[in-house]
């Protein structure tokens, strides 16, 4: 115990350009003791394996329904979680639905992490008119509540998976730019960057060796935090009919089509939303755990 306490902070106080091995082993040690984060990460991992292996483990076809076994309750023989309004197996639909929900939730954040991180680091490191331009355009997107921006763009572009991902990417780029710019600006003025510049290092080298290793962590932690919101928003777009289209299985869309069933089979109708909730809360807690373990101040 005392060894952990003595090594971890010293690695942080020095804050050298390239993080020493001590930093990451400290992060992992802290994560290992964080039971809540580990449980959530475990749940997410199981979910990921299930949706990747969907064709292998799903008991039925996600599209093949039957008029005679519509809206069966939870625990119906052969259909442990019941059937939906077209008689399709809920277990199968939920596993397959996870594929699109995860894709729609995570892809925009990954793309926004790359694009927003790049633009933010440029704005923070270059400063001047270029930084000013990037930040002022970012301000404009901040004038829209995120749900409204996503609905506006995908509403104008029309329904579809690609349009939903595009609009959500645009929603998440501005906040990531802001975080990346703030972190980069704070690193740029540190002494070791100054001394690297004085010793004749090129801009490219300074960014690669001194800036990137120190800013990517905080930006990454912030981006993981956005996944939770992204899952809710992505499924929300599908819920509004703006994401995926029937008969595709997606949690938000399933929740929407099952709305008519809340009088007959309320428990079955609630299942897709429960999946969104569990995924979203797990991503949220894992992100919080990462933030704590990596000692990133928000």
């Amino acid at each position: 115990m005392s060894e952990i306490a003595s090594t971890a902070p010293s690695g942080l106080i020095q804050a050298p350009a390239r993080a020493p091995a001590g930093y990451w082993s400290g992060v992992f040690k802290r994560l290992k003791r964080d039971r809540l984060t580990l449980i959530c990460a475990g749940i997410l991992l199981v979910m990921l394996i299930m949706i990747l292996a969907a064709p292998l483990i799903a008991p039925h076809s996600p599209y093949q329904g039957s008029m005679i076994r519509r809206l069966k309750p939870i625990g119906f023989p052969g259909y442990p979680l019941g059937t939906d309004e077209l008689g399709r197996d809920m277990v199968t639909r939920l596993i397959y639905g996870g594929r699109l929900s995860w894709l729609l939730g995570i892809t925009p954040v990954v793309m926004a992490f790359v694009i927003g991180g790049l633009l933010g680091i440029i704005a923070g490191f270059a400063g001047g008119w270029l930084g000013m331009l990037i930040m002022r355009v970012t301000d404009v997107f901040y004038a829209f509540p995120s749900v409204l921006l996503a609905v506006a763009i995908s509403g104008a572009l029309g329904a579809g998976i690609f349009n939903a991902i595009l609009s959500l990417t645009l929603v998440f780029i501005p906040p990531i730019i802001r975080v990346a710019e703030t972190v980069t600006t704070s690193v740029r003025v540190l002494d070791y960057v100054e001394s690297a510049r004085a010793s004749g290092a090129s801009v490219f080298t300074i960014v690669r060796v001194h800036v990137l290793p120190n800013v990517l962590g905080p930006i990454f932690v912030y981006a993981t935090n956005l996944i939770s919101v992204a899952m809710i928003l992505a499924s929300g777009l599908s819920f509004l009919g703006l994401g995926t289209k029937p008969p595709e299985a997606e949690w938000g869309l399933m929740l929407n089509t099952l709305r008519t069933a809340i009088y007959n089979q309320p428990l079955v109708a609630m299942l897709p939303g429960l999946c969104i909730f569990v995924t979203s809360i797990c991503f949220n807690l894992v992100s919080d755990g990462l933030r704590g373990a990596m000692d990133v101040r928000s």
Binding site: V140, A143, F144, P145, V147, G158
Partner: protein, 317 residues
Amino acid sequence: MLITILRRILYALPIALAVSLFCFALVHIAPGDPINAILPPDAPADVVDAVRKTYGLDKPLPVQFGIWLWKVLQGDLGKSLATGRDIWPDLSGALQNTLTLALAAAMIGFPIGIVLGSLAGAFRGTWIDRACVGTAVAGVSVPHYWLGMVMVVIFSVTLNWLPSMGASQDGSGGWSLDWEHLQHLVLPAITLSVIPMGIVTRTLRGIIGEILGQDFITTLRGKGLRRPGVVVHVIKNAAPQALSVMGLQLGYLMGGSILVETVFAWPGTGLLLNNAIFQRDIPVLQSTILVLAMFFVALNLAVDMAQSLIDPRMRRA
């Protein structure tokens, strides 16, 4: 002080202009000729030409933007494709309903968030803290459209206590303060309040925790100031940041209620947007987004000004 206010307004103007440019562009990022967004696809050619002229779609884009903006500034948002009526009367009615819902949600979510956040900040590391933070995380992680459905299942379908649809019994759009309308407001308002509740809790926990750790609190305690006296100092220091977060949350409530309004068929801007999306009624979509975004810009400005009124340090920024 006057200069601060003027500077804030001057800074908000280009943002407002850029926001309107974005909304103008919505018609043009819609797939196909923008004329298709205005006319049905089977319109005769001479009608297409006439409409193209009246809408100024034959002119270059910057000129079109100028004309559109000029009309908007005079309160002319154009006509709905679906109904053929002027957009503004319908939109203003929907705005009132959305504002009612947002204010009700704020009145539920903010006080709970303030209490939970203050408790969590004051009792950091205890089970109280964990319970409050847990509630907050659940609040920001729950898909609120699903929570709405759960509420309907529990309170409308099973218990039959509260209505699940619309703003009133007869389905009329208006809203007034009476028992029937209040009953219809309860479920959507609670559903919408969980996100601001969670965010206000998290923010206040951070603010209060930080203030309590500062030297001047130790000094005040050392001087022998009793608990109520310390609390006054904490509130004074926490208020500016807390108010700004709540102001922004009110804006998010206005713009973010589309999903909840869809679940409860609440006759506000969200339902208007939802119908516009389904009928590909781009002018209505554009106008609603524009008005909501402008409201958000104005709210941001108001929050900024209120903050510099309360907190002298902000005036220099």
